[in-house]
């Protein structure tokens, strides 16, 4: 079957088998290997991307279900040539070690912050509770998301007062 999907703002049209999983479409057909394929059983969240405006475990939906929709992967997180504050937070707070869980963690974190710009530690842990990290013990992931929340609100304040351009002032560690 023919599908048309907008991935990170680029339109792709491909002929696929209906049984193709979205994760394999993204990685193998489009060559976007930032999304990781982990447990293959809907449990680890390494494969999380956005379908329209919501994160989804892309090993658990068909590429056919994305026809006519938008997909956002980690490659599309940066804005205006700058890393998303979530990505900056992970870099700044050492939120990753091997990096396998990272793309999925960041996409769920972005969704959380869009809904809840000032999440508590508990709310962050709840949001990523369907995603597994074997390296960090989650502490630094939680710190990274908090960092992003704090820096986004600071940037929003600056915007609000007409100071700066809303871009992040902090250096990456």
């Amino acid at each position: 079957m023919q599908i048309a999907v907008s991935v990170n703002g680029t339109e792709y049209s491909r002929v696929i088998e209906p049984r193709l999983l979205l994760i394999h479409f993204i990685r193998d057909d489009l060559g976007l290997t930032g999304s990781h394929w982990g447990c293959d059983t809907s449990n680890c969240g390494a494969c999380v991307v956005w379908l329209d405006d919501l994160p989804v475990k892309s090993c658990t939906v068909l590429a056919a279900m994305a026809d006519g929709r938008r997909v956002l992967t980690v490659e599309g997180l940066e804005r205006r040539g700058e890393l998303d504050p979530v990505q900056q937070g992970f870099a700044h707070c050492h939120g990753l070690q091997c990096g396998f869980c990272t793309p999925g963690m960041m996409l769920t974190a972005r969704w959380l912050l869009d809904r809840n710009p000032d999440p508590s530690e508990q709310e962050i842990r709840e949001a990523i509770s369907g995603q597994i990290c074997r390296c960090t013990g989650y502490e630094n992931i939680v710190r990274s998301v908090r960092w992003a929340a704090e820096h986004e609100s600071a940037a929003a304040d600056r915007d609000h007062h007409g100071l700066g351009d809303g871009s992040e002032g902090d250096d990456l560690a």
Partner: protein, 318 residues
């Protein structure tokens, strides 16, 4: 690598279109809702439909509303929408209790209420919640609609009365004054299916202070309870005083009547223990809500899960 077997795919654009497609493709066609049970089953080749009828475009089946004294939930309502629904939580707190512990936040964005019920997994949480609430299911086919009581909906593990060519479209729960409801689940870890879980709904005679139970509903899952319910325990509760002793006895009766099996989630005797204990606790929590009595007993958590707001245990040094 787990890949589904070859399958055809059709996208439905309306309920009528979905029903027409189901009729055209016959009994080997399967409805694809959130896909979060069906696709894992297809990956394991436990399900090998010939055609998938994708109903994700049927946004008209995604709603939660109060009509004619009933809470009505469209079959395509996602778990997350039910959890976010203030009206559902106010009327039937059991639905929020259950949704909070179904899968994880990302899975809940996609899995649907209708898909949960039609999947009919013997450990499905919502099957127990709706059994406790004595809900009614609305099923549609090309000739019309029919309604089926929650307790006649499931005919066995992974089996329901929804026939090929039919769709579950809506779940209805009668709003009866003087009621309260709650759900208690024990799982191995956050986001996992239950080892055992119980839901309870309780309605008191003549409003909230009489102390006599007019009617009660008990839903059980993962413990081999017939129709996800505990009819004998409900019979015992009707007309009884709403006390902890009554609830403990009802829990014992519920436990005696279920048939749990040992599996990787736990031994049968432990599951039976859970059936009794969680039934009693759910009844207690439901009563507290029916009478508006102060704070609820703490919700049962999986081992290792902290309650919200409790301080994090710190390791030395930091």
């Amino acid at each position: 690598m787990q890949v589904p077997a070859y399958v055809e795919y059709e996208k439905a654009t309306s309920v009528d279109h979905a029903l027409t497609l189901l009729a055209r493709f016959g009994p080997e066609a399967r409805v694809l809702a959130g896909g979060h049970s069906l696709i894992p089953m297809m990956k394991l080749r436990l399900a090998q439909p010939e055609t998938l009828i994708d109903i994700n475009g049927l946004t008209g089946l995604s709603y939660i509303e109060v009509t004619d004294g009933e809470l009505r939930i469209g079959a395509m309502t996602r778990h997350a929408q039910l959890l976010d629904s203030a009206v559902a939580g106010q009327r039937f707190a059991i639905l929020h209790d259950a949704e909070r512990v179904i899968a994880d936040p990302v899975v809940r964005l996609w899995g649907t209420v209708g898909g949960s019920l039609c999947q009919a997994d013997p450990s499905e949480d919502l099957s127990a919640a709706f059994a406790a609430l004595k809900a009614t299911m609305v099923i549609q086919n090309l000739t019309g609609t029919r309604t089926v009581h929650a307790r006649e909906f499931h005919t066995g593990p992974y089996e329901t009365v929804v026939a090929p060519g039919e769709l579950l479209t809506e779940i209805r729960i009668a709003i009866v004054p003087g009621g309260g409801s709650a759900y208690q689940k024990v799982g191995r870890r956050v986001g996992d299916w239950p080892i055992g879980a119980a839901g309870a709904a309780i309605w008191l005679d003549n409003g909230s202070d009489s102390g006599t139970i007019a009617d009660a509903g008990i839903g059980l899952t993962a413990v081999g309870a017939e129709h996800f319910s505990a009819a004998a325990a409900e019979d015992f509760l009707r007309g009884a005083p709403a006390t902890q002793e009554t609830f403990a006895r009802a829990g014992q009766i519920a436990a005696e009547h279920c048939r749990p099996v040992s599996d990787q989630r736990g031994p049968a005797d432990y599951k039976r223990h859970l059936a009794g204990e969680l039934t009693a606790r759910a009844l207690g929590a439901a009563l507290a809500r029916a009478t508006g009595a102060g704070p609820l007993p703490p919700v049962q958590r999986s081992p290792g899960q902290r309650s919200p707001g409790s301080p994090r245990p710190r390791r030395g040094g930091s």
